[in-house]
């Protein structure tokens, strides 16, 4: 059966910003649609309207000519519209299985069979009985996808589903999506990765500042034309100049081990590496292979033996993040909504989370609000966060803008070493360009970076040296010039 979904003159206005401005669009099953746009263009808002999470100020939605009244997510579910959100909606302490069945009234046993079938069919191997908090971001995303599939949806909306998947996982997902599409499910796909759009989609709609600016067929487009449509101007491509390698060592990790009490975390085994000044060390790997543990050990959220980390000739293994910041380290974690920021707090309060003694945010134990606000305004303008209201709760920033705020917060302090984990997850091409530029600039200023990323392109573009993490072990450290993405792929899979 054919499915036809029509969005008609939808408008959604927030105080200070028109998120959707009279948008009309039509979709038919059998095709995969891409929805593109810069950070804050209004893509998530539009699909949240389709899934009943946000109620538009004006406009109607029709599914097969029926006007839908979508007042809540359950209305959307009833009408067979499924959605995978940009930010995870899972109960961290419940098991995967419990998360999957929580809003279903089918019997547990039959559901379990159904889930097993889905996992086999689309190749999503996940242990159903472990708590979600032990899953990597990539695995959580899969749980979300499975949750939609259980309901046999007519329409499946995905808001940046591949941000955390590896190339391998992504191409597996694409196979599944193509299969869904052949099976008659209408697919709307939001992404910032233009390569994916070219690979996967049939039609593409581009939004800019709340307005729909173009709808076209993929066969008439290429990556550059799409990028230009999104940003409304030509993007320059950036490239890292090969730095003259310095031999001035900044950080050295020696025999670092981490054994977790939690059986679902990855143990780190015998980690050894060093980074010189002005260098970027890239760490590749499939998500869930110990990256988040490595990040936490490096940031001081997990304390290790004092001598296992030597930074600038000081042993700092036993220091907490706050104390490490004083040595000019900065950290940008992967999970910005749950860890790097507090969504319920205002923008400027979130800025104060990264605080050096010298930044004077807190004097004699008192909050120095003016200083923090001044600093926040600088971050917002330097890093193009699209709001001018630093009193806004950070949950109302679009995904990409929140990431800009956090990266900005860490970079503006001009640290000697920046440790970042998937720094461009969810950013639009313009913003990615900007962050990449900034990272390159950091290296040019003779400062160092440890870049943990699941995006191989990003790693190859920015790193001087690359290592691969697999099951908590690092491969030998390679010069970036000698590495190809194929070679990385093989190492990420665990081969030697």
């Amino acid at each position: 059966m054919n499915t036809n979904l029509k969005i008609s003159n939808v408008t959604k206005i927030y105080p200070g910003c028109v998120a959707n401005d009279n948008v009309s669009l039509e979709f038919n099953s059998g095709k995969i649609y891409a929805l593109l746009g810069e950070n804050g263009a209004g893509k998530s808002t539009l699909v949240k309207i389709l899934s009943g999470v946000i109620i538009p100020d004006e406009g109607k939605i029709y599914l097969n000519e029926n006007n839908l009244n979508l007042n809540s997510p359950s209305d959307a579910k009833k009408n067979d519209i499924g959605m995978v959100f940009q930010h995870f909606n899972l109960f961290e302490t419940l098991s995967v299985f419990e998360n999957l069945i929580i809003d279903s009234d089918e019997q547990r046993e039959s559901l379990r069979e159904k889930i097993d079938l889905i996992m086999k069919k689309y190749n999503f191997p996940i242990d159903l009985d472990i708590p979600v908090l032990n899953l990597s971001a990539g695995q959580k995303q899969k749980v979300e996808i499975i949750r939609c599939l259980i309901r046999n949806p007519k329409v499946l909306i995905m808001d940046e589903p591949t941000s955390v998947l590896t190339e391998q996982e992504t191409s597996e997902l694409f196979l599944s999506l193509k299969k869904f599409s052949e099976e008659g499910i209408l697919i709307i796909y939001i992404t910032h990765k233009l390569k994916e759009v070219m690979q996967l989609c049939d039609e593409v709609a581009v939004m800019r500042r709340g307005k729909l600016v173009s709808v076209s067929e993929i066969k008439n487009e290429n990556i550059e034309s799409l990028a230009n449509k999104m940003v409304g101007q030509n993007l320059k491509t950036i490239k890292k100049k090969k730095a003259k390698t310095s031999s001035d060592q900044l950080i050295k990790i020696t025999n670092l081990n981490f054994t977790s009490e939690d059986p679902f975390e990855t143990n780190l085994m015998d980690i050894n590496f060093s980074v010189n000044r002005g260098e970027c060390l890239g760490i590749a790997g499939i998500s869930g292979n110990g990256q988040s543990e490595l990040f936490q050990v490096l940031s001081g959220e997990i304390i290790s033996e004092k001598k296992s980390i030597e930074f600038n000739n000081n042993y700092i293994g036993d220091l907490n993040p706050q104390e490490r910041r004083e040595y000019l380290m900065a950290f940008s974690p992967e999970d910005r909504l749950e860890q790097a920021a507090i969504p319920q707090m205002k923008i400027f309060e979130n800025v104060a989370l990264n605080n050096f003694k010298s930044s004077n945010f807190f004097n004699n134990g008192l909050i120095n609000e003016n200083k923090i606000k001044e600093h926040s305004k600088k971050i917002i303008s330097d890093f193009n966060v699209n709001t001018d209201n630093i009193e806004l709760k950070s949950q109302f920033l679009s995904g990409g803008n929140l990431q800009k705020l956090i990266i900005g917060r860490e970079l503006i302090t001009s640290p000697d070493l920046l440790i970042c984990f998937n720094p461009t997850w969810g950013l639009d091409v313009g913003a990615i360009n900007y962050i990449h530029e900034t990272l390159i600039k950091i290296n040019e200023q003779n400062k160092s970076i440890i870049l943990i990323s699941t995006d191989t392109d990003e790693l190859l573009k920015l790193s001087d040296k690359i290592s691969v993490i697999h099951k908590g072990k690092l491969s030998k450290i390679m010069n970036a010039e000698e590495v190809t993405s194929e070679k990385l792929g093989i190492l990420m899979g665990g081969a030697n």
Binding site: I54, Q322, E338, I342, N355, F362, I367
Partner: protein
């Protein structure tokens, strides 16, 4: 047609309006209950909420009851804001009273300006010690603070019982379960001749000001706020999460202990079995009714204090059991939770047009 719609963003006005709505609904429901019991609802409500505070004496009694409620609730707000569920304030109050009472008894024959401060300090320390038990068990042994703090309430009451019946009972007291009267130097001064309101109210007001300052102006308050929202973020920022947990318990224990001191060195003047009509539990309601905000807590403590007084007058004039006071407290909490629904949803009235 009526429709319930999700709010995009909870509004600030609604946040402070729902407690008022809850109080209003409590009055309506209370009137209804009185009506069912065969009383004239308005008259009964008048006995309950107006008569008790209509004169100077009544007003002083109101402040007298509101003082411990306010003090404890301020302390609890530190815990609740940072997601630590200390519900054992009653035990911390009792233990604070025991320690300060013990110290006051040591000085029972002496006079001197230095006695009262020592007694007060002893109460605060007693409360802190008692609150440190659930805090330490929670941080180092992963126990649930709700259970531990609650069970410790009963332990403290039994200790008090044992002391006033046994070792500390008044030698000239004909075996009544009570201690000697404290000396005047160990008592909080009365503020007005003939009224029971005492200097403890200043402790409560100081707690309000200090907690406002700490919450909104200090780094410590900021760290508590962050830890309350997310321990993960607190860890990332480098705050010492465990210390923070212990600290909020200590603050809240100190406040409860001080409330205990206020009771025994104020209106009571000795230790006996019933030093608190469950102020420590009722203060939980006060804290939430006041939205964990220092100023809100002042108002909430006054409102809830009336239910104590009203229950007494109603018992005398209308022969209603004084437990109706607790019924009203329960209803306030119930309606508060119910009207909090409005924080996240709004009710839309939709005309019949299609």
């Amino acid at each position: 047609m009526i429709k319930i719609v999700k709010r995009d963003q909870p509004s600030k006005a609604i946040f402070f309006f729902t407690p008022v709505l809850a109080i209003f609904l409590t009055l309506v429901a209370g009137g209804l209950i009185f009506f069912i019991l065969g009383f004239k609802p308005f008259e009964a409500l008048k006995f309950f909420f107006i008569i008790p505070i209509a004169d100077k004496y009544g007003f002083s009694e109101l402040l007298l009851k509101a003082t411990p409620l306010c003090l404890i609730a301020i302390g609890l707000s530190f815990c609740f804001k940072s997601n630590n569920w200390n519900i054992g304030a009653e035990g911390q109050l009792t233990f604070g009273a025991i320690v300060s009472g013990g110290v006051a008894l040591l000085f029972y024959e002496q006079e001197g300006f230095y006695i009262l401060p020592i007694v007060i300090l002893a109460g605060a320390i007693g409360g802190m010690l008692y609150a440190s038990i659930p805090a330490i068990l929670k941080t180092y042994f992963n126990t649930n603070e709700i259970l531990v703090s609650l069970m410790l309430v009963y332990v403290s009451k039994l200790i008090l019982d044992y002391l006033v019946v046994g070792p500390w009972s008044n030698p000239e007291g004909f075996n009544f379960p009570e201690t000697r009267q404290f000396s005047d130097s160990a008592k909080l001064p009365l503020l007005f001749e003939g009224l029971r309101i005492h200097a403890g109210i200043f402790l409560a007001l100081a707690a309000v000001v200090i907690s406002w300052f700490v919450f909104y102006k200090t780094y410590l308050g900021f760290q508590m706020k962050v830890s309350g929202f997310s321990l993960k973020t607190a860890k990332y920022a480098g705050y010492k999460g465990k210390k923070m947990i212990i600290l909020v318990f200590l603050i809240s224990g100190a406040c409860a202990g001080l409330a205990g001191v206020g009771e025994i060195t104020g209106p009571i003047g000795q230790l006996h079995r019933e030093i608190s009509p469950d102020y420590g539990f009722t203060a939980i309601i006060v804290a939430f009714l006041g939205r964990l905000h220092p100023v809100g807590i002042i108002f909430a403590s006054l409102v809830v204090a009336i239910t104590y007084l009203g229950a007494e007058t109603a018992q005398i004039f209308m022969q209603i059991p004084k437990y109706t006071g607790q019924v009203f407290q329960g209803m306030i909490l119930f309606f508060l939770l119910a009207s909090d629904y409005l924080l996240f949803f709004k009710i839309k009235f939709i005309g019949s047009k299609k």
